[in-house]
Amino acid sequence: MGDPAATTPANALVLCTEGLSKSFGGLQATRDVSLSLHRNELHAVIGPNGAGKSTLVNLLAGEFTPSAGRILLEGRDITSLNVWQRTRAGVARSFQRTNIFLPLTVHENVRLAAQARTGTLASLLSRAANSRTLFEITDLAIERVGLTQSRLRPSGELSHGEQRQLEIAMTLATDPKVLLLDEPLAGMGQEEGERISALLKSLARDHAVLLIEHDMDFVFKVADVMTVLVEGAVLASGTPQSVRESAAVQAAYLGGHA
């Protein structure tokens, strides 16, 4: 797998899309979207309801096949890869609605995610228990999201916020280059939000992060780069400052916010 930091610059281009489009029957959910995600960068995508944010994540994660356009991961065309192939290639997502294995403990949830990458038949037939590196990867991911105290608890007993953290830990355990985080703050209180905000900033240091979030104050606080989607198309893209000042964005979306 290697250490990407050793060979690539700190803010190297990791993933980009070229003219990505998706239509469902007559509805065009994504129109000609070209964006790029860099390492050490938190890229937030905002837009009103129905702007195609979730469709974009689903296209990047391989859940949907684009009608047109390409997706490149470190220069390699991954447009035709399906969901699990993309995860193995290094594009991992978290879900808007918490999507974990409720009967399993925190540790078991994360370990399952860590195990996926050793998916050859021979390793599948090894005893599930005994792999040291597996435990290390698992514990590291759990520690990173701050769930070490709860690692042996059944995930069904966790608070909503902790389940969101677990969701991110599972994504981390797949050893991703790109993190697609679909509304990680959904349904969280103020205090939990602060914690996740710090976590996202730390994640962006060694991953390319795409964040979809409704909470505008939060987005302007954490994002390095922002893309505004309206009706499936990119309305504006740039630093939070330039997006805030863009007349088009103010007219179409932000309204009195700025």
């Binding site: 699990w84 995860t87 294995f101 399952l112 996926a116 037939l125 090894s126």
Partner: protein, 334 residues
């Protein structure tokens, strides 16, 4: 790094008592034929063969969450394979018939799985039913296996390493009895080991949340196909044993109600454990026998008893020993 106690898969007995219970059951079956008339020993042979079929199906139903109505077809197909490869008046050794029957059943399951596993839920049920009935009609409507009447196999049926099992005629049933017992125990232990591997964990993950399994990078189609093929081959072992035990084949053993009956055994014994199907098969066979003695409405009595068990014991007969779920999970952290 803190060591984490690993929970055994929920399908295996969690307590020492549970494990001892299974050993006692196996020991009781081992000595049984010497204590009861041959009629009952043959009945237990039938029950053990049914248990093998239900056990192979538990790999799909209880472990992976796949309910198939085509599973019985692989069982019946394997029984026909024994008939089809046996030349007249010569007994083929079991080390030829068993692997061939399992290979054919497994190959058929692999082909059916390639198509049916692209669907889920209700559609999976219907597609597997359709494939199963196709195999049924091959034997029902063609002369391949004697048509609707079926066909008899050449005796003696069990032979190995060039020598047939040379028992006095009155003790012939002991041969099939112990061969079936050895296979049943081997199948249980083999599946128990398999479920402890990462493959077993992946099956459990698929049962709980297949979508998420794909998102964390598992090729769930491949994993399900391997499970489906393996379950088909194991059903083949059961069908092979059925042919050796009964000495004839007919289309009825390929029909969809074989799958339905195996499902009933799983439900009766318990969806949440690997040994549940074995208990269910023994109980259903015993129940059928008792019901037949008491009344002419055998199926009605069976139906009522199964209904009562499902309502009163949601975890099946296997759930009788343990008190409740949370208890079982809690013990193992200490």
């Amino acid at each position: 790094m803190i060591e984490v106690p690993l929970r055994t898969t929920r399908l295996l007995p969690h307590t020492l008592l549970g494990r001892i219970g299974l050993v006692v059951l196996a020991a009781a079956i081992t000595v049984l034929p010497w204590l009861v008339p041959s009629y009952y020993a043959e009945l237990v042979t039938s029950a053990m063969i049914a248990a093998m079929l239900a056990l192979s199906m538990q790999l799909l139903v209880g472990a992976t969450g796949l309910v198939s109505l085509g599973h019985g077809a692989f069982y019946g197909l394997a029984a026909y394979v024994v008939y089809l490869i046996s030349p007249e008046n010569v007994a083929l050794p079991i080390w030829i018939t068993l692997p061939v029957a399992m290979l054919v059943a497994g190959a058929a399951a692999c082909v059916v799985g390639l198509f049916s596993l692209r669907t889920t839920g209700f559609f999976f049920l219907m597609v597997t039913l359709a494939f199963g009935q196709m195999i049924f009609f091959v034997f029902h409507d063609t002369k391949l296996g004697g048509g609707t009447d079926g066909a008899y196999l050449t005796k003696p049926l069990i032979s190995a390493f060039g020598a047939t099992l040379d028992l006095p005629r009155k003790q012939k049933y002991l041969g099939t009895y112990y061969v079936a017992l050895v296979q049943l125990v081997a199948m249980y232990l083999g599946l128990a080991m398999l479920l402890q591997t990462l493959f077993g964990r992946a099956l459990e993950g698929i049962r709980v949340n297949e979508h998420r399994m794909r998102a964390i990078g598992f090729d769930t189609f491949k994993i399900k196909l391997i499970a489906f093929t393996l379950a088909g081959a194991l059903a083949g072992a059961a069908g092979h044993m059925w042919a050796l035990h009964r000495g004839f084949v007919n289309p009825e053993i390929v029909g969809w109600h074989q799958s339905a009956e195996a499902l009933l055994m799983i439900l009766l014994g318990g969806l949440g454990s690997l040994h549940g199907p074995i208990l269910g098969a023994l109980a259903l066979t015993g129940l059928g026998e008792v019901a037949q003695l008491l009344t002419e409405r055998k199926l009605l009595v069976e139906g009522l008893v199964i209904l009562a068990v499902v309502i009163l014991l949601p975890r099946g007969l296997a759930g009788l020993g343990s008190r409740n779920t949370s208890n079982g999970a809690g013990d193992r952290h200490g």
